[in-house]
Symmetry: C2
């Protein structure tokens, strides 16, 4: 048997909830019914005040912590959740104290209703007919999940990157439904460069002949070439220049001199191509497109006279904002903009800028300083809750 | 008639020279014969000491200044050379004083022998059989062009970006054949991030089904999708984050609210797609691949115990190194590395770091401070030359 690390939540089983009440989307699209898949870790206390909602980023899903049962035990450890270093017994988001909920976003490809789900109106996969979803829509659907779980108020809503946007949107859409909002490696809106990178990724996918305008499910194809390129671009922007220099430099791949060919010469080429290939197998292209669009559209200030201060005026949650010095995709300055807008509203806000080399990816990594500040802030939240049963 | 600006070199006509002596390439490839297309601006003086070689970058060519004759005069101004702001009468590289030579690199697609040229061995376009060419190879071929033109020593070899690498290589390969070396917005080697971006662009092109492994000439296809994505990536990295924010911000494209569709929502999306489309028509994919490889391979220190100081030990040219504060593709620190290595060798070097927002593209733009330092340095060179006839 695979030895599951002791400080892990262990094997977890996703759950599914079907919502028959239609959801009206920001895009004016509408889903008559939909399902969300989610996981929970830890135990909800009697007061139901120790619940934490974790929101995932671009290519994440509901499986944030622990492991999934596999047919072959040898594969078990490969199923580790994407934030397993953050969530678990004794970890910063301590499952001995908190009841943690993590759901796959609407439009996702890992169990929640999305483009690869069957459209009840046609009996075929939604494909390109799946409506555009926004961060607000996700928060609406997560609020319904909260109702389903009987959670009136989250002790905290927490997310990194696109997940941080969801946490921020929670504080705006449902100010009374969360006591703390943790926004990590995020921004109140994308800038032109971010949107540019997203659009290149989208164009790579959408112009792949195997994309078939999003109807590839029935064609027996996958827009693998486009997805691969999209992921390669993504990876470069998730890493810092310094980290890439440190990790790969100009090291050659299994050779001591150049072959002067188009096969990979440098390690960094192999690495990016490998990451690209892996992504094709595990992620749906239509979902990737939707997620990047949600990133682009997010801009709460736009509906408040372009004032982030005004957009955050009704917020009551306490905020913890975290950024990483080497993150150039969501630079610390983007976090400081959020902090300043909160301060202008006299909202309690703590801010940590973690010094590290790992770029945007840092928010997923067990970096000591980061883990320490998270532990410290989460302890504060835990101490405000009733004792767990 | 189109009014050609008075301070322009006017209409220029490219010339071609065929070299029948084979060239042995760094890649161990070999071309039995080849041609180079080039333009000249200004007049070579009697002492032949006022000649300037201009080296082009990734997607440039021999047409650096002036205009090309067009059938319709209305199109004339569209044919302006890529460095017309720098080269011309009274401009920093003053054609009243200098004889300027600009050639299309070997492997190019605008007249010099390259993948789209006929391979005499097969009667078909070279396509993927065109050998990998390096910065050193270009310098070798440019030295032969110098011989052909009767230029024993250049007053200066000048280039930006990939062109700067060629200038630097000239100072190493033929130290006695240039008096000044101007290296602008360049680096002594690419870092892992640069190589990563190049490889994504290459993968986008090479996995386009219309690429046909480089044999698209005979298929009636162009790898247009891949080229478009490659150029979009390129453009993002040529601009600075600040410039993109200033130029596009989150401005919407001809609309006041989102359509929630995959058509371009933001101006930056339209701009990048337009740039991508335009590139497909004017540039050859196989050449683009070769140029990016030449960038990756350039690393003179690699052949000198990884010491740039040692690589530059035999240099005798005076150097002028220029960088731009907002250039993150070839950041100022990369230029300072060159400056320090030259200083360690007690080589005369001047260095200017221009403060501006335009990113890597700056080297092509008529930015006042940049034009001023160039004028000043070029004046110094001109004053060392014999009077022009």
């Amino acid at each position: 048997m695979s030895a599951i690390p002791e400080n892990s939540i262990g094997i977890v089983t996703p759950q599914t909830v079907v919502f028959d009440e239609p959801i009206e989307l920001t895009s004016t699209g509408r889903l008559e019914s939909y399902q969300l898949v989610y996981e929970t870790y830890g135990t909800l206390n009697a007061a139901k005040d120790n619940a934490i909602l974790v929101c995932h980023a671009l290519s994440g899903d509901h499986h944030a912590a622990g492991y999934h049962q596999t047919q072959d035990d040898a594969d078990l450890l490969k199923t580790v959740g994407w934030w397993n270093s953050m969530i678990g017994p004794g970890k910063p988001i301590d499952t001995n104290r908190f009841f943690v909920v993590s759901s796959n976003n609407l439009g996702g490809c890992n169990g929640s209703t999305g483009p690869n789900s069957t459209n009840p109106a046609t009996g075929q996969p939604y494909g390109p007919d799946f409506p555009i979803v926004t961060v607000s829509d996700w928060v609406t659907s997560q609020a319904r999940l909260s109702d389903h779980l009987g959670i009136k108020q989250w002790a905290a809503v927490i997310g990194g990157s696109l997940g941080g946007m969801q946490a921020m949107q929670w504080s705006i859409s449902y100010p009374e439904r969360l006591r703390h909002c943790l926004v990590i490696a995020s921004a109140s809106k994308l800038n032109a460069q971010n949107i540019g990178f997203n659009d290149v990724a989208r164009q790579a996918i959408r112009t792949d002949p195997d994309f078939h305008n999003g109807n590839y499910y029935n064609q027996g194809t996958l827009p693998a070439r486009g997805m691969r390129v999209a992921r390669m671009i993504g990876h470069i922007t998730y890493l810092s220049e310094d980290m890439m220099a440190l990790k790969f430099g100009r090291n050659l791949r299994k050779k001591s001199k150049f072959d002067y060919e188009f096969t990979p010469e440098f390690e960094v080429e192999s690495y990016l191509r490998y990451q690209g290939d892996r992504f094709v197998d595990r992620f749906d292209a239509n979902t990737y497109l939707l997620m990047t669009k949600a990133l682009d559209y997010f801009d709460p200030a736009a509906e408040a006279n372009d004032s982030l201060v005004q957009a955050l005026a009704d917020v009551t949650a306490n905020f913890f904002v975290v950024s990483f010095s080497s993150d150039w995709r969501f630079a610390p300055e983007r976090s400081r903009e959020i902090v300043r807008a909160l301060q202008s509203n006299r909202i309690n806000v703590s801010y940590s800028e973690i010094q590290c080399d790992q770029g945007h990816d840092s928010f997923l990594l067990p970096i000591d300083d980061y883990m320490n500040v998270m532990t410290s802030y989460m302890n504060r939240i835990a101490n405000e809750c009733e004792a767990t049963p």
